[in-house]
């Protein structure tokens, strides 16, 4: 396990690269979904299913 985490001595570069990617893409996904469902729910309260 330690061998895997060390990444041949380059763990200090490899893991932050993956970490920032997960944070960036995961965060964007969560924020996008939250805004989407919020807008959809508010619109549904008006009694419409599909906006035009």
């Amino acid at each position: 396990m330690m061998h895997f985490l060390e990444m041949g001595g380059y763990g200090a570069f490899v893991w932050p690269a993956y970490g920032v990617t997960v944070l960036g893409l995961g965060g964007a996904g969560l924020l996008t979904l939250r805004a989407y469902f919020r807008a959809k729910t508010m619109f549904a309260k008006l009694g419409d299913r599909n906006p035009e």
Binding site: V20, T21, L33, A35, P51, E52
Partner: protein, 239 residues
């Protein structure tokens, strides 16, 4: 294609597609990450730093494609005045900026162990930083002008003019002497990378592309819901 530029048709067509594209994106990225971190062997010269390629290169590809999409949608908005084109261009920008920032950060983390520095002002890195500024300028322009029609027009012009940076990014490694390596995948004579390294890269690139498309469609749908909500609320307040 232009048939989908009708908001109602777009909403009807995109609703059933989004969960499938999103799920496929998640699966491809999960498989790509597993292969990149656990299956791909250390590269002969770069060692394990080669694993950064799998989060850096797809981010760079998507960030440039997103700008191309944004510029194209802006052109359609200016010329054909399709109601969805402005929204499509505007909603691509924050995602493009995110992928560009990720490409710059991961590239700099790859640069330190391979070049000995996090940053160098060579043509590829500088033109890529300019891409981030173009995205930020585009977003700022939308927010700075209150009249939505004028804002859309000004932002569209910026997006189209800024597209000249795309070929500069692509060919910068050929036109100038750069620290950044030359093209090793999309090059004449085929890729110079061994298939064992190449397949996970294509899987990640497909996953990143589908993730961008998913988030982009969701953002467009959110914008349409929000606009319709605003119109109906203001109509209700007026009556």
């Amino acid at each position: 294609m232009f048939g989908l530029a009708n908001p109602k048709r777009f909403m009807d067509a995109s609703a059933p597609v989004v969960p499938w594209i999103g799920s496929l994106a998640a699966i491809l990225i999960a498989i790509g990450c597993y292969m990149a971190l656990a299956v791909v062997p250390p590269e002969r010269l770069q060692g394990d730093t080669v694993r950064i390629m799998y989060v850096h290169v797809p981010a760079a590809w998507v960030s440039m494609s997103a700008y191309g999409v944004m510029a194209l949608a802006s052109l359609v908005a200016l010329v054909n005045r399709h109601p969805l084109a402005d929204i499509a261009a505007r909603e691509a920008a924050p995602l493009g900026a995110l992928f560009t920032a990720l490409a710059l950060i991961t590239g700099s983390l790859w640069g330190k162990p391979t070049w000995g520095t996090y940053w160098v002002w060579d043509a590829r890195l500088t033109s890529f930083l300019l891409l981030l500024f173009l995205y930020l300028g585009y977003i700022a322009l939308w927010n700075a002008i209150e009249d939505e029609v004028r804002a859309a027009r000004a932002a569209a012009v910026l997006a189209i003019v800024g597209a000249v940076n795309l070929p500069i990014i692509v060919f910068s490694v050929e036109w100038w002497n750069t620290l950044h390596q030359g093209e090793s995948i999309l090059r004449r004579g085929g890729p110079s990378i061994a298939p064992v390294f190449l397949w996970p890269l294509f899987i990640m690139a497909a996953g990143y592309t589908l993730l961008f498309v998913t988030l982009w469609i969701l953002r467009i749908r959110t914008a349409i819901f929000t606009r319709a909500l605003r119109i109906r609320l203001s109509a209700g307040a007026a009556s």
